[in-house]
Homo-oligomer: 188 residues x 4
DNA sequence: CATGAATGAGATTTCATTCAT
DNA sequence: GATGAATGAAATCTCATTCAT
């Protein structure tokens, strides 16, 4: 019914499987079950489609994390909540996660509005700064900490994806790994 | 003189700047200063070129690490030696590192021989297993540890690259970050 | 108007003049007055074009023969009717005939569906079988007779084409040659 | 050893399998086990190679027929001798025969020297003319008779090739078919 | 909104031929 | 004679995009 949605779904699937340049718009239209020209009605350009898909995914992920990671009593608990929410989302949306990864490692990420990115990261950075001020975590540059957390998250996700664990085992690993991460950044 | 080498150099430069699909073979040939057909004399296919470049880089990196990271007295020192060698290589070969990253995040990595990969990882895995047996690091699955180290390394490298630190500061950060990593995996 | 038709016409003309491999698709598109890509819109592959052209010609020829060669009172008359229809068609469609010849003498004929061919030949073979049963023609294998008739037809056509006879003379020769053929296969 | 010969053999095999334009000179060189450039040492041009191969085959075939078809007492016997020799050669040299066919049905045949062809056909035409003068065969144009015989021969050969008969059966069929041909052209 | 035929610039690859060794 | 790296024109095919219906 909703052709725009169908196009986004088809694009996601194919981009992840074949890469951005490896996926012709015609194939996306076909997979989506719409005419070639219809795609260009919704997304005037292939770049617009890629960017639109990224935005769409980003919005949905942020909504999920915001909904599931409420502020907790302690700094550690709050941070863990966010960590868990991110990873659970990633586990439930492997294709979307893969797409994000691919997007960031491509020249397309340059098309993103830099200000916009910083605005989105601000709450997270603020939280880290607070942790440092309160001497809970080590006094390292917040973007440095953020990078370490991100790649840590990415690594774990990759590990979970390339093995076939039970849900219980997965959640166990996620929880354990957070402790590893915490060991790394907590003030001794 | 060595046209094959010139082609590889041109390909590396352009692939990193424009992406695999964003770089036409004709441009590579031009940049390398050889005729269009010459490229296909050495690499029958664009895929072959991409794969050949990856292999070439991998070999040179491994050689560098092997040469610079000799076994040390303690487990930690040996591991740090490898860690430093990897990061120093990455810092000195940013384009190559970037290419590797792009390669792994693309559908092309599927073209790699799985056995070959495992064979290359074996010494590293063996070392980790030894550390676990000797109760020096935590008894976690070695592929898990390896994934965490890799993404950690990647994260640090990204951080170093996106900031413009002095060499001294860079080496300081690398050394400090190793300690963070060590905190994470060492047996308490 | 009908671009597909224009492409087929151009392809026929050029293939006969220059051979399959001697004719670039670009030249066909140009001769047809369509864009390069349009050709590939209708025929995804050059092979598809060659095959499509063959099929197109085959259909039109069969239609002509079926329309012009009605069953007659005697076996000989019926057979002559078909013989004449085939040859008249060939004389009126020299380029098409030439193309068919070229096609059969090329590796492309292997792309034809064998079953399809047999299905098309069946009525003809049935007729020959009937003639044998009724002791009108010699009791030879029908595919053998068919091959002889075909090459005979081909030979005559070649002779008519390489000389410049008047229409009257041509029809005379065709008629006479049928008698030669008939002498060859009729039961004595 | 004899590289020229090896090239001709490889060319024959590949041209028949893939067509003239479908066979790259590099593939011929490879199949012949010589370097790419060597081919062009012996045949300055691909066309020269094709023509050279044709000439080579033609010479060998003519030699065979001349050796095996001696003049006999009667016209019919002489003619039959030639007919048999031609067909036996074709059966023993299917690839060569196929090549000749392909050559004649290609634009390359235009490269042949017309005079040369006529000179080669003259003895045959003379024989036919003699047969007509002596009222042994029908008073038809000799090139017409020749065309009919040629395509008849071609048809039979095709039939023999597409079926798998025993040698005895093959020779039987060849002999029988000559009688059919003779019925066709003999003066009643 | 939706379609899909049409476009043409451009991408990858092929290949006959040359020539320094 | 023999080699095979090198060439570059040309061939097939792709694909984002447009537009009349």
């Amino acid at each position: 019914m909703d052709k725009r949605k169908k196009i986004l779904e088809a694009a996601l699937k194919l981009f992840v499987a074949l890469g951005f340049h490896g996926t012709p718009t015609s194939k996306i239209a076909q997979e989506a079950g719409v005419a070639n020209g219809t795609l260009f009605h919704y997304f005037p350009t292939k770049d617009d489609l890629i960017l639109g898909l990224y935005t769409d995914i980003k919005i949905r992920m942020t909504a999920f994390v915001n909904e599931n990671a409420k502020p907790e009593d302690t700094f550690k608990a709050t941070m863990k909540g966010q960590y868990l929410a991110s990873l659970y989302w990633a586990l439930d949306h492997k294709t979307e996660f893969s797409f994000k990864q691919q997007f960031h490692n491509s020249p397309f990420h340059l098309l993103l509005n830099q200000e916009e990115i910083e605005k989105q990261l601000k709450p997270h950075f603020d939280m880290l700064r607070k942790g440092i001020e309160d001497k809970i975590i080590k006094p390292l540059p917040v973007d440095y900490i953020h990078t370490l957390i991100s790649s840590h998250t990415f690594g774990l996700n990759q590990y979970l994806t390339s093995n076939e664990f039970s849900t219980v085992k997965q959640h166990q690993l996620i929880s354990d790994t957070f402790e590893l991460l915490w060991d790394m950044i907590k003030e001794n």
